[in-house]
């Protein structure tokens, strides 16, 4: 490490005095100042490890450590925002005056970052982009899901939260979608070992019918994170191999420090959240054609004033305006006016979030320790939903000898989660809620006889669902990691890191008797076990070849085993209501899924460093995978990268404002293996179904049965190959007060393995094949400015910007598109075009060559006879702006997050327009003339139409084009204010520090989207984003936290 500390030390006495004057006692005193300004620094820690005690400086920067026996000591000086300094001192019988000048670390240019395999490298040596996120920032966000906490903090990392229920999954992608249908999310690595961020499917039904599930990154407690590195490109992740082809998120957890006094930190926070409920009309009552209906069955208080309806109920919101109800109706009902409700405000509650964490950290001369216990308890905005997570972590490190160092960490996590079904299903609470007329009081939820009460027999009352149905998950997870290193020679070491990540998830699904759509009730129990074992054995050599040239070589072996097992018991037809034990089911069906895959690898990494100016790095990795054909399961991939610190290469930049400049360039390849069990075509238990709700379960009538899979295996699969080129420039000016980091990348993946849909007349709906090429290219920009920096006042501004283009270069012959999600019409799919990932597909209006609507003689636009592209869910660009102001102990920070473009297929609108609850229908009855030309005459259209119930139900809602909305947003993602009490004040209470923080999340959102927050996605963290339907809306939240350490 380059260090330019300026130390002024005055020493008395020497080593020999140690034994002679052992009886004498002296004091150590001195002052600590800023090396640049000379200002005295208060609150600096001075610590003598041998004595396990120390002191802190007062307001004048002075300190006193009393009664120190003469001898040799290690004295460490640490202060936030400054480089730590450690030195060996000799204390004589008279004590010692020891002054220290600390150098501010803000300007430090040679930062060390954690790269692949946990290897720490100087940032200046890298030939690729890495972005770091401080653990502090994640903690302040107070998001339960780590992935959500990352939103808006880096360039080119897109985070999408699937909805507002506790534990709901969040998706993260880096530099666009690399894989057509495979996983596109980055690899998560904690302290050097990969962990699972899987979203285990809900066996209660397809995602489109039940909603997404949690991503298991949820289990990581942000409070335990020291820092995160986001490795974006293939060069950065090449050593991790195929699993990091989509980037990697490298998490380093907190640890104790050598010679650190035992420190206890305690944090507690309480948060409140509340739902965005925009998008619904609040004026028109239940009914049809202006007649009032109250929705209840005729024999249970049902009322209708439609003379032809007899006693039949209509459950739509096409009734009269609430202020224009006819006197006859009011007289019939004996009221002055019809009482109205806001169903969403009635249903959504204030969410509550309690987070507590306590940890103990410290260290001795050769060992460190960190022990943490934390709990996150979240009650959702949807009644009956919650998340309760407990994290226990212990981390130790010690030197067993001069040469041998060992570190180990153990994490235990329990996450338990209750949530409700979302999605395209009358059993989703969103149906009964969002299509409910404003005259209907959702409570009580039952009639006197105990049967469910709702405004329609088709959907369920959301409160009833909350009381009766739901899903639960109880995860016990254990992540452990041990690292052993042995320094054979000063320049040669060998190390081994072995880790295990294993969890069991006990899930339960409850559908009570009396549920509309499943009147007899059903349930399931599921036990998921997922385990990953990972071992890396590495030999590292680091030698100076000449005075100018040094060489750093790493050779390693990786063994990786991943197992998944799920045992399921599904019971249908419940005898006793509200009793969800499998013995209560009339029919029981069970199943088990198993997956196992193994990977062996050899890899190597070599960096040549010429005068700390030019760094040339080459990596190579060969994988042997269990999922590829045995005779063709080996694949090799190399990378080459260059880091050139040109500002240090010439004298040109000396004495200019231009303090640092680096050029990066890299080219790399990553291979990827196949999904498990994809080489053969097997049989599966027969499961006749009608594609909707009906099914036959085998064994049928006591007879078993098997059918062929509908996907044909392929014994000739080859590995996929990703190739990426990246260039970048890192410039810093005015001693680092300003910085610009820009990257351009171009990544192509060929031979993509996926299920190619085929004509089912082949006997199979798809076959696995190497088919298709996808290319992502784009620019990432990170700007940083520190406009003001004085001893007391710092103002930082950071801007990130990213623009990515996904080009689907080609598909296999015969493939024209790939279905990602939704329905036949509308759907989200992949087309082989530029920007073809995430195309929204459906019916649309015909237009002429000039793009004008073609209007029929009836004044309505003509719907094209074919389906076509009507939008694209991929954003045009993303960006964020962060600003931090701090004055002494007070700091304010704001994070603005912007997404430009990226359409949303709002399928809720299809229903809510039909039912007359969508805000667009509030203009009902108004006249409108479409802007377009008559299809027959070519003349401008002048036929006026009335936007009435028939128009909205029969025309507007049936054209998918009308359901596509702009998903652009500008969010105040975070606003926080924190105050750290002055050290002098705190010390009198025997505390080290006290900080109070208030954090607001998503307090303000600007968008044109009906429901304001366009981030929801029914299909969870899957590849089909932008499908908004029956999901829990986004929330705004405020959290108050207190951090104390002593």
């Amino acid at each position: 490490m380059r260090s330019a500390m300026l130390i002024k030390v005055m020493m008395f006495g020497g080593a020999l005095f140690f034994s002679l004057n052992a009886y004498a006692q002296g004091d150590i005193t001195g002052t600590v100042t800023d090396s640049e300004s000379g200002e005295e620094l208060p609150g600096v820690n001075i610590y003598i490890s041998e004595l396990e005690r120390g002191a802190a400086t007062g307001l004048e920067g002075d300190y006193l450590i009393e009664d120190v026996s003469p001898g040799t000591y290690t004295i460490a000086t640490t202060y936030v925002g400054y480089e730590s300094y450690e030195e060996t001192i000799e204390v004589g019988a008279q004590g010692l005056v020891y002054d220290v000048e600390l150098e501010s670390s803000v300007m430090e240019l040679d930062e060390v970052v954690v790269t692949a395999l946990g290897v720490q490298r100087e940032e200046r040596s890298l030939g690729y982009a890495v972005q770091e996120v401080e653990g502090q920032a994640l903690e302040v966000s107070r998001e339960a899901n780590l992935v959500d906490a990352l939103a808006g903090r880096t360039a080119g990392v897109q985070v999408n939260s699937s909805g507002g229920q506790p534990g709901s999954g969040s998706r993260i992608i880096i530099r666009g979608n690399t894989s057509l249908v495979g996983n596109n999310q980055p690899l998560f690595v904690v302290d050097g070992i990969p962990i699972s961020n899987a979203s285990d499917e809900n066996i209660g039904g397809a995602t489109v019918h039940t909603g997404g599930t949690s991503n298991r990154g949820l289990d990581i407690d942000p409070s335990n994170i020291e820092s995160m590195s986001v490795l974006k490109g293939a060069s950065a992740t090449a050593l991790y191999g195929s699993r990091a082809a989509n980037g990697a998120v490298i998490i380093t957890t907190k640890s104790g420090e050598l010679d650190q006094v035992p420190t206890v930190s305690f944090s507690t926070s309480v948060g409140w959240s509340d739902a965005y409920t925009d998008g619904y009309q609040t004026d028109y009552l239940g009914g049809t054609e202006g007649y009032f209906y109250n929705g209840l069955p005729a024999d249970r208080g049902g009322y209708t004033n439609d003379p032809e309806a007899e006693e039949t109920q209509i459950t739509q919101s096409w009734g009269p305006h609430k202020d224009a109800v006819s006197q006859d109706v009011l007289d019939d009902l004996g009221v002055d006016q019809i009482q109205t409700f806001n169903p969403r405000e009635a249903f959504y509650q204030n969410g509550m979030n309690l987070i507590n964490n306590i940890n103990l950290s410290g260290g001795t001369a050769g060992s460190t320790y960190f022990i943490s216990v934390g709990n996150t308890n979240q009650e959702g905005i949807v009644p009956g939903t919650d998340l309760d997570r407990t994290n226990v972590m212990a981390r130790f490190g010690t030197d067993l000898s001069e040469q041998v160092h060992v570190e180990t960490s153990v994490n235990y996590i329990n996450s338990s989660n209750n949530w409700l079904a979302e999605g395209n299903n009358p059993q989703a609470y969103n149906y009964g809620l969002n299509f409910s007329p404003i005259n209907f009081d959702l409570t009580p939820t039952t009639f006197d006889d105990g049967s469910q009460r709702n405004f329609t027999p088709s959907f369920n009352n959301p409160f009833w669902l909350s009381d009766n149905n739901g899903f639960s998950s109880d995860v016990d997870r254990f992540i452990s990691n041990t690292f052993l290193s042995y320094d054979i020679l000063p320049w040669l070491s060998v190390s081994e890191r072995i880790g295990i990540d294993t969890y069991s998830d006990q899930r339960k699904g409850r559908t009570n008797v009396g549920t509309r759509g499943d009147p007899n009730g059903s349930m399931y129990d599921q036990q998921i076990n997922r385990t990953e074992i990972n071992s890396d054995l590495m030999i590292n050599a680091n030698r100076n070849l000449t005075e100018q040239v040094s060489l750093d070589i790493l050779v390693g072996n990786n063994i990786n085993v991943r197992q998944f097992d799920s045992e399921e018991v599904i019971g249908t037809g419940l005898n006793i209501p509200d009793f969800f034990h499998i013995s209560n089911a009339n029919a029981i069906n069970s199943d088990e899924d198993i997956e196992e895959r193994r990977l062996l690898s050899l890899y190597s990494h070599a960096t040549i460093d010429y005068m700390d100016i030019v760094y040339l790095t080459a990596t190579a990795r060969n994988d042997w995978s269990s999922t590829l054909p045995a005779d063709n399961n080996s694949y090799f991939y190399p990378s080459l990268s260059l880091g050139f610190v040109f500002s240090d290469a010439t004298d040109l930049f000396d004495d200019t404002f231009f303090s640092y400049g680096k050029l990066r360039a890299s080219v790399s390849q990553i291979g990827n293996d196949a999904p498990v069990y994809s080489l053969t075509t097997n049989y599966t238990q027969a499961d006749p179904g009608d594609g909707v709700s009906g099914e036959i379960i085998y064994p049928f009538a006591g007879v078993g049965g098997y059918r062929l899979n509908t996907t044909i295996g392929n014994p000739d699969l080859r590995p996929e190959t990703t190739t990426e080129y990246e260039v970048g420039l890192d410039l810093r000016v005015f001693e680092g007060r300003g910085s610009i980091d820009i990257s351009y990348y171009d990544r192509s993946t060929v031979d993509q393995i996926f299920e190619v849909p085929t004509s089912s007349a082949t006997g199979f709906t798809s076959r696995l094949a190497n088919a298709g090429e996808i290319r992502n290219y784009g620019v990432e920009l990170a700007l940083g400015v520190t406009p003001v920096q004085t001893q007391d006042f710092i103002w930082d501004v950071g801007v990130n910007f990213a623009k990515n283009t996904t080009e689907v270069v080609e598909f296999a012959p015969g493939v024209e598109n790939i279905f990602l999600g939704g329905f036949t019409d509308p759907q989200i799919r992949i087309e082989d075009t530029e920007g073809g990932y995430g195309v929204i597909w459906g019916n649309y209006y015909d237009r002429n060559e000039d793009g004008q609507l073609l209007i029929g003689d009836d004044g309505l636009p003509i719907v094209a006879s074919a389906l076509g592209a009507i939008g694209n869910v991929s954003p045009d660009w993303t960006g964020n702006l962060r600003t931090d102001l701090s004055y002494r102990g007070l700091s304010v920070s704001a994070l603005l997050d912007r997404r430009q473009g990226g359409d949303i297929l709002n399928f809720d609108k299809f229903y809510s327009v039909f039912y007359g609850t969508h805000e667009a229908t509030a203009d009902r009855g108004s006249d409108y003339t479409y802007d377009g030309v008559n299809a027959n005459t070519g003349e401008p259209n002048d036929v006026e139409i009335t936007r009435d119930q028939d128009y909205y139900q029969g025309h507007y809602s049936t054209v998918s084009e009308n359901l596509v909305e702009d998903g652009s947003f500008l969010k105040l993602r975070e606003l926080s204010l924190s105050y750290t009490l002055p050290p002098s004040l705190v010390r009198t209470a025997a505390l080290q520090s006290v900080t109070i923080t208030g954090t607001g999340r998503n307090l303000w959102i600007n968008s044109d989207f009906s429901h304001r927050d366009p981030e929801g996605s029914l299909l969870g963290s899957g590849n089909a984003q932008g499908f908004y339907h029956a999901v829990t809306p986004g929330t705004r939240s405020f959290t108050l936290s207190l951090n104390v350490s002593f």
């Binding site: 027999p457 509309r516 006749p688 049928f700 036949t824």
Partner: protein, 500 residues
């Protein structure tokens, strides 16, 4: 130090793990949950269950019986098949399931059984193949046959379409070949309980096969280049070895257990999906006009089913029982206002009839009529078989047949006689796809299109559109058929249908 000991305990297994031999380490890619080989009996049970639930009891029975107005939709008509809004996405499931879960497995079973010389299995597989292809071609006209079931890398991902005439010839071949297979009695494995239709009774399979032959010969009575009389004679020849009584009926039994229930129960009664597929006013009017005792068996009283499913405790006084259907294409206002499908057909444990003796008699009656013979007795036997099956009392049957007011005596004019036969066949074949085939072939029963039809010409659809999956994955070949995208596809008749 204690800490170090603990560290080593955690660390040790890791080191041991490393030195484990790597032989066979990567050999874990065989799916432990899916067998690679399955014997004939376990394939047969799956095949019959899939064919019954996904084909006979599914889409081909649902939408066409809206169009021939036995059923009607009692909800909003917006974009509904009852008003002839039936686009490319609607037959996706039928097409995909029939080709993959039914035909591909029948193909597989046939090959395995022939290889093992277990010919009864091969014969049954061929019957299912022939029957499935008949259903596909009757609804879609040209469909892939020659190039089907031969995927890449050897074959093609985009099979060409074959003409309906070609496919009918293959159907006859398959059924003949099945009859040959059924003759074989030297086999190591014979169907038993795995034969969910006949419990291993191969003679009944033979009679079913012959009855199917008769059905398909008669199907081509008006096909271009085919002679009605010759087809009728072929049908009569096959029927000599066809169904001999109601005992031979191909009835697939379902059970009142979750996951074993009758497809009509799951589709239209139990409330799992929707209960508004109910009887049509046209059909109830027809039965009421004939004072037909089958009305109370084929229809449930109004109020027995509401939008949530069966109404518990529904037990009306006999004189307050009402049967009512919705007018096809008219907005209905929910299930509770109309009659749902009768319990005989739609209780959870009702059997699903694939083909009946009554139908055999009506085929015989029509063929006899065509060949100039006296069909009256055969026709009456058909009515009697249908009523006996439904449990109508003998006296009531006699009254019905002999009631001069109804006049079931076949008139001499052949056109009118055909109408009588097909009308009675239509009642006997309640909920069968054959109603739609007979209507297209003969024009009976005469039907009025719905009030606000979606078809461009306003007529009742005469075919299915090709599914979106074929337009997406076999676009060139589906384009070759000349059937366009959009609802105008519904107006292009199939090859054998020369009357529309």
């Amino acid at each position: 130090m204690n800490l170090h000991k603990a560290t080593f305990k955690i660390f040790l297994p890791g080191v041991l793990f490393l030195v484990v031999s790597c032989d066979g380490f990567l050999d874990v890619n065989e799916d432990p949950t899916a067998p690679s080989e399955v014997p004939e009996n376990l394939q047969l049970s799956a095949l019959l269950g899939a064919f019954s639930y996904e084909v006979i009891g599914n889409e081909p029975a649902r939408t066409p019986n809206l169009w021939v107005q036995q059923l009607a939709w009692a909800g909003f008509q917006e974009n509904h098949a009852d008003s002839y809004y039936f686009n490319e996405s609607d037959p996706n499931n039928l097409w995909n399931q029939t080709y993959t879960e039914v035909l591909n497995n029948a193909n597989q079973l046939n090959e395995l059984a022939e290889e093992n010389e277990n010919y009864s299995y091969a014969g049954i597989a061929k019957v299912i193949q022939a029957w499935s292809f008949a259903i596909l071609t009757d609804l879609f006209d040209e469909v892939p046959y020659t190039e089907a079931f031969n995927p890449l890398p050897e074959g093609t991902a985009t099979p060409e379409y074959d003409s309906q005439e070609f496919i009918y010839n293959r159907i006859f071949e398959l059924l003949q070949s099945a009859l040959n297979d059924f003759e074989s009695d030297d086999q190591t494995l014979s169907p038993g309980t795995d034969d969910l239709l006949y419990g291993g009774n191969i003679e009944q399979w033979q009679r079913l096969t012959n009855t199917l032959l008769a059905r398909y010969h008669l199907r081509l009575s008006n096909a271009p280049g085919y002679d009605a009389e010759e087809q009728a004679n072929n049908a009569l020849g096959a029927l000599e070895n066809g169904f001999a009584s109601n005992e031979d009926d191909a009835d697939f039994q379902y059970y009142d257990n979750p996951g074993e229930e009758n497809p009509w129960f799951q589709f239209a009664i139990d409330g799992k999906w929707d209960t508004r597929d109910q009887l049509s006013a046209h059909y109830i009017g027809l039965l009421e006009g004939l004072d037909d005792p089958r009305l109370s068996i084929q229809a449930r009283p109004v109020g027995a089913v509401d939008n949530n499913g069966l109404v518990s405790g529904f037990d009306p006084e006999p004189d307050s029982i009402v049967y009512e259907g919705n007018v096809n294409g008219a907005e209905g206002d929910g299930a509770s206002n109309y009659s749902s499908i009768g319990a005989f057909y739609s209780s959870a444990d009702a059997s699903l009839n694939w083909m009946s003796y009554a139908e055999a008699k009506f085929i015989e009656a029509e063929a006899t009529l065509i060949t100039g013979g006296d069909a009256q007795n055969i026709y009456e036997e058909g009515i009697r078989a249908s009523m006996e099956k439904l449990g109508v009392a003998e006296g009531d049957i006699d009254d019905y047949i002999n009631d001069p007011l109804i006049s079931l005596t076949l008139p001499s004019a052949s056109g009118d006689a055909l109408e009588e036969i097909i009308t009675q066949k239509y009642i006997a074949n309640f909920l069968s796809l054959e109603n739609y085939n007979d209507w297209r072939r003969t024009g009976y029963p005469e039907l009025e299109p719905v009030e606000d039809p979606y078809t461009p010409s306003g007529q009742i659809p005469v075919r299915y559109p090709y599914p979106t999956s074929e337009h997406a994955n076999n676009a060139d070949n589906v384009a070759e058929t000349g059937v366009p995208l959009g609802l105008s596809a519904l107006e292009i008749s199939v090859w054998w249908d020369t009357s529309n």
